[in-house]
Amino acid sequence: MNTLRTARIVILLMSSITGAAENACPVRLRVHNFTVNPSTGPVSEMTATNLTNVPVRAELRAHYPAGWVVAPATQKLSLAPGESTVLSLAIEKAMDSIENIYPMTLDILVGEDHYTHTQHLVCASTPYYRPAIDGDLSEWNDAIPVSMTTRDKTTVVRSYWNKKQFCLGVDVQEDALTDHDALQFALAPGKSKTPTSHEAKSTRYEFVVTGREGGTCYQLLSPGDLLTQVSDARDLNAFPAKDATVRVVRKGQITHYELALNLRAMRALRATAGREYCFSLLVHDPTGTGLRDLGSIMRLHPAESDLAWSNWKGARWPLKKPLDNKVEFGFCSSIH
């Protein structure tokens, strides 16, 4: 017990040095997104990591939105020093939120000490649909929007899939669309990991979309590509994406990006209803908010390597590295 107390003091000291505002819980928790609509009764997963150098035993109690039924109500946890594990809860009854925000709280009991972890979950799911890529976003009302706010500017990300296409509809609130603005996004098979060695091979498909001339899409990486090139400031013009349809339209303060990619050229994703995949997205707005990172609302931890996102000529990167490119998403059936 004294050892655990010492470990917690160390964490507290480190937290005060780094400026971290959270309670010094010895277990770091991240609840994963729902990858299908909660009303369908999915499994809710969370990753628990022991931050100390001593074994930790804890009891967790999860609180989901009112009226939900979740089993089991409590879970016991036993972690070796530095160990991570994934816990699962069955969602037996739930209602879908039109705003796509699901606040939840975890009560964590470690010995006599009580901690609280709060998180706003989203349903990170891509419904089946075939939109026309024509700059008219009215067809995107049946997608499941994921919103983030960066310095008072909103970005809304919507996605669809069908047997031939992966489609994105992204609304970027910004003062102006400039030549430096772009979307950058990555897709990878579910539960992929970003390698930490420059000698490793890519596990992702990675794209950049600029708003110039109505919109152009470039593909920087495919699975199996060497990651040595990730740091290079490559000229986008050398990497046009094949079979991509793009429309970028400016309406008032919103830049609408609408695109469709050839899903059959991304066979590693094995797209089918119910299958998970990894996705994340950056918005480059260097003259406005700076870099916007979808991972920032997903409680991701700082990327463990510099290999999470490809550099490209003209990109302006902040001092703080973006988060990892692998947020859990899922392909699903149409929502109605």
Binding site: S39, T40, G41, Y128, K163, T272, G274, R275, H336
Partner: protein, 330 residues
């Protein structure tokens, strides 16, 4: 010459009778980018396997992209069999003893022999486009009435051994369709089946060779048939495989008669959890063997005994994430 003709006819009738002794179930499957050819190929394979037995009903399952292709599948099947016996629905994928398919494919289950087959159909249920979150009362009423209207057409429901229900009402609203059916047939009749694929533009129920939406079909089997029906839920790769194996094994053990067919109305969500698509079929085959006619399809909701711990497993319910495994014996 007349004597020879009479003899041939009598021999043929006798052969047909002998071959049709007891219920007859057969399956076939085909894949082809050309939807008509896929339907026709599957139908021809099935006709060959039936060896002269005339089916009383076909359950067709397909996973083509759009309406035109789905219509072509049915035309392909109808080029071999009469339209009036062609029923079924769209799915996310399907499996038979021959394997698993989930792109540009069709499978067919033929039901025939010494078995009563009664078909009921309802369309224009009034449930299409209604949301469970914002229009619950209207949706529930529409589906319950639809189910009731469907079941009221089944004159022989009291003699039924198994009801196969296929509806355009995905989980969790499939329960309301079943509620309506059970207000007429009661809760003791074994009911299995599934909800058709709910992808936009792909939610079709087939009735007499035609595509329909906002509809449901019920196929009631009567006669000397023994049915063992087991439901198992799973939401991870390992559990999908283990529950398929155990559920199929339990259904096989629970039947005293000689097994004549294995049916599985399975969940599209379970299919999405599989790391390797063939694993669930192989788990089923480990329990039922590779000889028995085997028909499985991945649906958007299932009908059968729920496995969620707090329900009566002898009563069929509408749910999700399940494999509803039936062994039919004679």
């Amino acid at each position: 010459m007349t004597h020879k003709l009479v003899t041939i006819t009598l021999v043929s009738l006798l052969a047909n009778t002998l071959m049709a002794a007891g219920p007859v179930f057969e399956t076939s499957m085909a894949e082809n980018e050309n939807a008509f050819n896929a339907g026709q190929t599957a139908a021809r394979k099935l006709r060959d396997k039936l060896k002269g037995v005339t089916p009383k009903a076909l359950i067709v399952t397909e996973c083509f992209e759009d309406r035109a292709q789905k219509a072509d599948v049915l035309k392909g099947v109808a080029s071999v069999f009469p339209k009036k016996i062609i029923h079924g629905g769209s799915a996310y994928g399907m499996y038979t003893q021959a394997g698993v398919l989930d792109i540009d494919a069709v499978s067919i289950l033929a039901i025939g022999g010494e078995l009563g087959v009664d078909i009921a159909f309802v369309d224009h249920m009034g449930a299409a486009g209604l949301s469970l979150e914002t229009q619950k009362d209207q949706l529930v009423n529409a589906l319950r009435q639809g189910g009731k209207t469907l079941a009221q057409q089944l004159a022989e429901s009291r003699k039924g051994m198994l009801l196969i229900l296929i509806g355009d009402a995905h989980s969790p609203k499939n329960q309301f369709l079943l509620d309506g059916v059970q207000t007429v047939v009661g809760k003791t009749l074994p009911i299995t089946g599934g909800s058709v694929c709910k992808n936009a533009g792909q939610n079709f129920v087939f009735h007499q060779g035609e595509l329909t939406q906002d509809s449901a079909i019920a196929i009631l089997l009567t006669g000397s048939l023994e049915v063992s029906l087991v439901g198992r839920q799973a939401k991870s790769n390992d559990q999908v495989i283990s529950t398929a194996r155990e559920g199929a094994a339990t259904a096989m053990k629970s039947i005293k008669a000689k097994p004549a067919a294995f049916l599985a109305f399975d969940c599209g969500g379970r299919m999405g959890k599989l790391d390797r698509l063939e694993d669930e079929l192989e788990a089923i085959q480990a329990s039922v063997g590779k000889e028995i006619p085997l028909y499985g399809c991945y649906c958007a909701g299932e009908f059968g005994p729920s496995d969620t711990g707090n329900t009566d497993t002898s009563t069929s319910t509408g749910c999700g994430w399940h494999i509803m495994a039936s062994v039919l014996g004679h």
